[in-house]
């Protein structure tokens, strides 16, 4: 009798636990149900333009990819292809993922590899060559891959912008060359981005490598550090927080940015201005040229669709959309560029140009040297 009572008592105590079990399960299931309902709102899905499922094209890009909805929709409607844009991190990460999965590619087309990554992409054979007819209208200086595995789409220049009013108010001469930037009168006035995490930051690093050579650029950076250069993690922070010429009204009147930034400032000035607030330095190697490429990923099952998309990217409607969406210049010669760009973002006279093979071979080494010199 004694053990039986004990036994039943034991069971009774545990039975109370079962109620809690039921309640807790219910809570969990309810939670799943609610969120499931929330996420299956049909309005959040894009209405498919085409019910045929095999006309979908996956385009892998870096996170800065942008295109006007109207331009893309026009393409989709005229071709019947649904385009899935897969943003995969910054250009380097997107490329590395593509390389790692090249035998079972994640997408059909890869856009965003630039000239600093080009050789790595080509060495890893991730692309299939495509001799697009649109290449005829693209100048040869941008066609860095003779085999047309990587096709150029846009280009731009990473330059040092300066705040015009700031310098004239203090009657200080605007620096003309990279060497000028380490002079004492410019102490603490320059904002750069960390080349390890920022594409324009890395471009500026390459400018210094081009100008001072692989053995000299470290000393240059030491001097910059002694001259209190400000290092931001990314372009957004440098431009909108540190730079005095932009909306953030920061402390630095010199910032590493794009040659098109002054044009943007004019286009979006509110109220409209008659003269630009900023401009780019135009000394030897003060600007670095970037070219971005697109390629069809090797092994794609949708070759035909991919070709159509590549042609579209090299066609006028897309090319002319590039300046205001991505802040770069179209490679196509006949593509119209907004007036503000022509006026306020002139092509630099002596840009720094470095062979892609060089960059790929020494990228990590140069970054490590920079890190050891500048951080913390």
């Amino acid at each position: 009798m004694h053990s039986y009572a004990f036994f039943r008592g034991f069971v009774r105590a545990r039975r109370a636990g079962v109620k809690t079990v039921a309640r807790a399960t219910g809570l969990l299931v309810l939670l799943l149900f609610i969120v499931g309902c929330l996420t299956l709102n049909p309005q959040t899905k894009r209405t498919p333009l085409n019910t045929q499922t095999n006309r979908t094209l996956a385009v892998m890009t870096h996170d800065s990819f942008a295109v006007s909805e109207s331009v893309l929709n026009a393409f989709e409607q005229s071709t019947g292809i649904q385009v899935d844009v897969l943003k995969s991190g910054d250009a380097g990460v997107a490329l590395n993922k593509a390389i790692l999965t090249k035998q079972a590619p994640l997408a059909d087309v890869l856009y965003g590899v630039d000239n600093t990554f080009l050789t790595r992409a080509l060495q890893e054979n991730i692309y299939e060559p495509y001799n697009s007819p649109a290449l005829a209208s693209i100048p040869s200086e941008y066609r860095l891959d003779p085999q047309n595995r990587a096709l150029p789409v846009d280009y731009g220049y990473v330059c040092i912008n300066y705040d015009i009013a700031w310098f004239s108010a203090r009657s200080l001469a605007v620096p003309q060359t990279l060497e000028d930037l380490v002079h004492p009168e410019y102490k603490g006035l320059l904002a750069v981005e960390n080349p390890m995490t920022s594409s324009p930051g890395f471009a500026f690093l390459l400018s210094t490598v081009t100008h001072f050579g692989p053995n000299g650029f470290v000393d240059y950076w030491k001097s910059l550090k002694a001259n209190q250069v400000a290092i931001a993690d990314g372009w957004e922070t440098a431009y909108y927080t540190d730079f005095s010429g932009a909306s953030g009204k920061g402390p630095q009147p010199l910032v590493v940015s794009y040659s098109t930034s002054p044009a943007y400032e004019m286009i979006y000035a509110d109220p409209p201005r008659s003269d630009p607030p900023t401009a780019s330095l135009d000394g030897p190697d003060t600007c670095f040229r970037q070219i971005e490429f697109v390629g069809i990923l090797a092994g794609t099952p949708n070759r035909a669709l991919a070709e159509k998309f590549v042609d579209f990217m090299l066609d006028s409607s897309f090319q002319e959309d590039i300046p205001l969406q991505m802040g770069m210049f179209p490679v196509k010669t006949q593509a119209k560029v907004p007036e503000a760009f022509v006026q306020y973002a002139p092509i630099p006279s002596r840009p720094a140009i470095l062979a892609p093979e060089e960059i790929t071979a020494h990228r990590e080494e140069w970054l490590n040297l920079w890190k050891e010199t500048m951080l913390p």
Partner: protein, 572 residues
């Protein structure tokens, strides 16, 4: 004659195997063993091969031995510093909780586990919203006119240390606090009567007696700080790199797979050693018998006591609550016009960020609407839960009443516990991105990876529950005429059901917050919430920032719900 002897001897050796076959135990092993072998050990072998290759032949490219030393050195350095700080903050807290009664004590005690279970991206978002350039502290400083430019609290060693202290103080509070409660309060009094002032009494009596639990807590905290990934990556920024972060950088950014593999091997080795050390210390702490104190906690009496208790509690409250509340606040308030937006936007309370989650903007960081990442996360978490249970239940049944063979297999099953998630992801990426096992595009790969991370915890949680009901009760039931089935139904099942529910919630929560492996193997078209939050956080801009906070809040709530389930089932 001899041949018979050999045959008999052979049969003896094979007896355990034969026994297993006979009662079907081997069958139970097949699924978990096969799973772990294919999805953990094969990738591990791939990493081993590549790492050995790198070490012996191919070299490490731009990543020198000197850099390895730097990385390892910094990993130890920040872990040691974080552990010391955590103990310094946790000890006074443990004392206050052990000795005093004060209002809201139960609530506070339940709440201090929350930071511990939060996913790293949520913690990162929390600190970003509190201390970032657009965070509350900087806004306050600017508003008060004390600083023209945002003060760079983040991307510093201080931010890393602070986040680690936030994360791990609850371990010290719990382990040392419960030991302190059980410490006979007469002991320090006896020391005082013998002429020791309060400080000497603490140093010579209390501290040595707390030492086992203190060491166990410190070892555990050190382990977590050593293997910390998200915090260092997001809050430390590019200047700081630990082993795990460096594996990620070398694999995905520098694309130096040999270096990444070598670092992975180093990581596995050191983590294993740390896990063993911390297990031993935990066992010793539990074995240390401390007498039960008769005196229950009392209210602080003197003004000095009241003051110190208030100070300690305020520091703890600030430490725990601020990083939790500020992302919630940030998600509901627009503090400044979105960057890059040219139209002026009013600052103030807004639900816009939550509404944005449902909108598919090509301009925003992801193709999928942010709320769909929540759906993805939940689907992945559900799949993880099912897989982890399907594997964990048979494994736990076998390990709850282990035979000799089972005991040998157990460490192999639990090895994933010592491996970093980043390494796991890397291994899977290496092995499964090419035929014949090209699973990289399969929707199951991510739940599988999560299950590997969750499996050791599931087994640990289920094992004691399934070892369950003592044999004599079972015998008592049998003598009273209850059939084995009845016994199982009335006794085993409720206990087992509770344990299974708790383990399921655990696997679910782990999957929801998993970041390290996910960043590597997630399919770009099906991002999960942690990955989405990280992406939003890395691209500052008013809209992205607000959405990151909104998503972080959502993820926080989901995790808290899952953990409530765990704690509730454990409590009763």
């Amino acid at each position: 004659m001899e041949r018979d002897d050999v045959a008999v001897a052979g049969m003896e050796i094979l007896r355990p195997l034969r026994n297993s076959f006979r009662d079907g135990r081997t069958l139970l092993w097949i699924l978990p063993a096969a799973f772990v072998a294919v999805f953990f050990y094969i990738p591990l072998a791939a990493i081993l091969r590549m790492g050995a290759d790198a070490a012996l032949r191919a070299g490490l490219g731009a990543f020198s031995a000197h850099s390895i030393l730097n990385v390892v050195g910094f990993t130890f350095f920040q872990a040691i510093l974080s552990t010391l700080l955590t103990v310094a903050v946790g000890l006074p807290g443990a004392y206050v909780f052990a000795r005093y009664k004060f209002p809201f004590k139960r609530l506070l005690r339940a709440l201090w586990i929350v930071p511990f279970i939060l996913p790293t991206v949520v913690v990162a978002a929390g600190f970003e919203s509190l201390l970032g350039p657009n965070g509350w502290v900087n806004l306050a400083l600017r508003g008060a006119g004390l600083a023209a430019q945002p003060f760079p609290f983040l991307h510093s060693l201080g931010a890393i240390l602070l986040a680690h202290v936030f994360y791990n103080t609850s371990i010290v509070l719990r382990l040392v606090g419960s030991a302190w409660e059980r410490l006979d309060p007469n002991l320090p009094d006896a020391a005082r009567m013998l002429g020791a002032n309060p400080w000497r009494a603490f140093r010579r009596v209390t501290l040595p007696l707390l030492m086992p639990s203190l060491l166990a807590a410190a070892a555990l905290v050190f382990l977590f700080d050593f293997t910390s990934f998200g915090v260092i990556l997001i809050l430390g920024g590019p200047a700081f790199s630990t082993l795990e972060v460096e594996i990620y950088i070398q694999a995905l950014q520098a694309f130096n797979l040999p270096a990444a593999s070598l670092l992975s091997l180093l990581q596995i080795g050191t983590t294993l050693i740390l896990v063993v050390i911390s297990s031993r210390l935990s066992e010793r702490a539990e074995a240390a018998t401390l007498r039960v104190g008769f005196r229950t906690a009392r209210k602080p009496r003197s003004a000095a006591e009241r003051f110190s208790v208030a100070v300690v509690l305020s520091v703890l409250a600030a430490l725990f609550f601020l990083p939790l509340i500020s992302p919630i606040a940030s998600s509901l308030v627009r503090t400044e016009p979105a960057r890059g937006e040219r139209t002026a936007v009013q600052a103030g309370f807004t639900l816009a960020y939550y509404q944005e989650l449902f909108v598919n903007r090509k301009q925003s960081a992801f193709f999928a609407t942010p709320i769909e990442t929540a759906r993805n996360s939940l689907l992945v978490a559900t799949a993880t839960m099912l897989i982890a249970l399907a594997l964990g239940i048979p494994a736990s049944i076998l390990l709850s009443r282990p035979r000799r063979l089972d005991r040998l297999v157990e460490p192999f099953l639990l090895l994933p516990l010592g491996t970093s998630a980043v390494t796991l992801g890397l291994g899977m990426l290496l092995v499964f991105s090419r035929p014949p096992l090209a699973l990289i595009r399969s929707p199951l790969l991510l739940p599988i990876a999560h299950s590997l991370v969750a499996l050791p915890f599931v087994v640990r949680g289920l094992k004691p529950a399934l070892a369950g009901i003592p044999a004599r009760l079972r015998q008592a039931a049998a003598t009273l005429g209850a059939s084995p089935l009845r016994v199982w139904r009335e006794v085993d099942f409720p206990i087992a059901a509770r344990a299974v529910l708790s383990a399921a919630a655990f696997a679910f929560a782990i999957s929801l917050g998993e970041f390290g492996a996910t960043t590597i193997i997630v399919r770009p078209e099906f991002p999960t919430m942690p990955v989405a939050i990280y992406s939003f956080l890395s691209q500052p801009g008013g809209l992205n920032y607000g959405q990151a906070m909104a998503m972080a809040t959502l993820l926080m709530l989901l995790c808290v719900a899952a953990v409530t389930v765990i704690e509730r089932t454990r409590e009763s």
